[in-house]
Symmetry: C3
Subunit: 134 residues, 3 copies
């Protein structure tokens, strides 16, 4: 196993944090085929989305769309706050906890318009991301 963990600080309740550069750095030099990213939290996910100029607006649109799709005003059974509110769990399930990306010459084979984002749904918090090349 060639794995390490990144620590990512989030600053808002719902926030997409561009972690592309940190993932590239964590991968370092390798001849392996893929990188797997995994978020060991139940109220944060990982997703590939738009990079570049419009990225911040797209990220905010994605965050607010998930707030609309999973409505906090629904009746929820789970009420404990210690491990996050229920809607943030559902938003995480829709986004996903894990992502596997091919490597080409040791770099994630992202499209020109793609970046990797940690999705915070119950911040601000300090988050961990597992990065494994294999």
């Amino acid at each position: 196993m060639a794995g390490l963990q990144l620590r990512i600080e989030t600053h808002q309740r719902t926030q997409l944090v561009d972690i592309t550069d940190r993932v590239r750095e964590a991968i370092g030099t390798t001849d392996k085929s893929v990188v797997t990213l995994f978020v060991p939290h139940t109220t944060a996910g990982v997703v590939v989305q738009a990079a570049g100029e419009g990225a911040t607006a797209v990220a905010r649109d994605l965050a607010s769309a998930l707030e609309r799709i999973v409505d906090e005003s629904w009746v929820w059974e789970h009420t404990s706050e210690g491990d996050g509110n229920p809607w943030s769990h559902v938003r995480t399930a829709l986004t996903g906890s894990s992502l596997t990306i091919p490597l080409v010459d040791g770099r994630p084979a992202l499209g020109d318009l793609q970046a990797i984002f940690l999705c915070e749904f119950d911040g601000p918090r300090s988050r961990t991301l597992h990065v494994v090349v294999h």
Copy 2:
């Protein structure tokens, strides 16, 4: 290939079944980097969500949220019942059929609050889960 299949019985129409212990057992002892879980059905998925005390409530909240997000009363084109109703297909697509989790010392690198769930969207049925360490 070091793969095996688990058989999982579901008992409700929409149900999240905690399969963490069975996945750990299936992995056994290994020095591989990751485990990939795959559900070979079109109306059941796999997801990482909350473990522990509040887990049952969170799982029920996730199940009922998916029932709200994908509404059975919409007009659907597909009407055959043999391979599952259309809304269960969509809920499966949102949840995902595949999950890759890093291994640390042969154990899935789940967070303390995480568990692995098979998501049944058209039960009760007998389901298969592929478990491959690689």
Copy 3:
């Protein structure tokens, strides 16, 4: 790395294209454990869904369900059209950009009712899919 790229033409705005045969062909003969599929675009995803007779109806139901779940009439911040409209980004995030499927004797361990689909959310376009066995 044993990877290659498929080129996939889409013909509609929202369209699911069955790519199962092309993925099988791209894999060729291998003794590896899994295949990872990755879409290097921000407005197209990849998903496993129903094969066979009812497949076209299910695919259209999934496409139209995603059009309902992520509503174009919402207020969106991102307005640039060059890299796709915002709702197609969100539909892609819900569907996912990456999929890892176990191989059994060099063939994807799909269920009898499963097929692999590229999900176009901003077509028609010419799309790339990375296929890596590992």
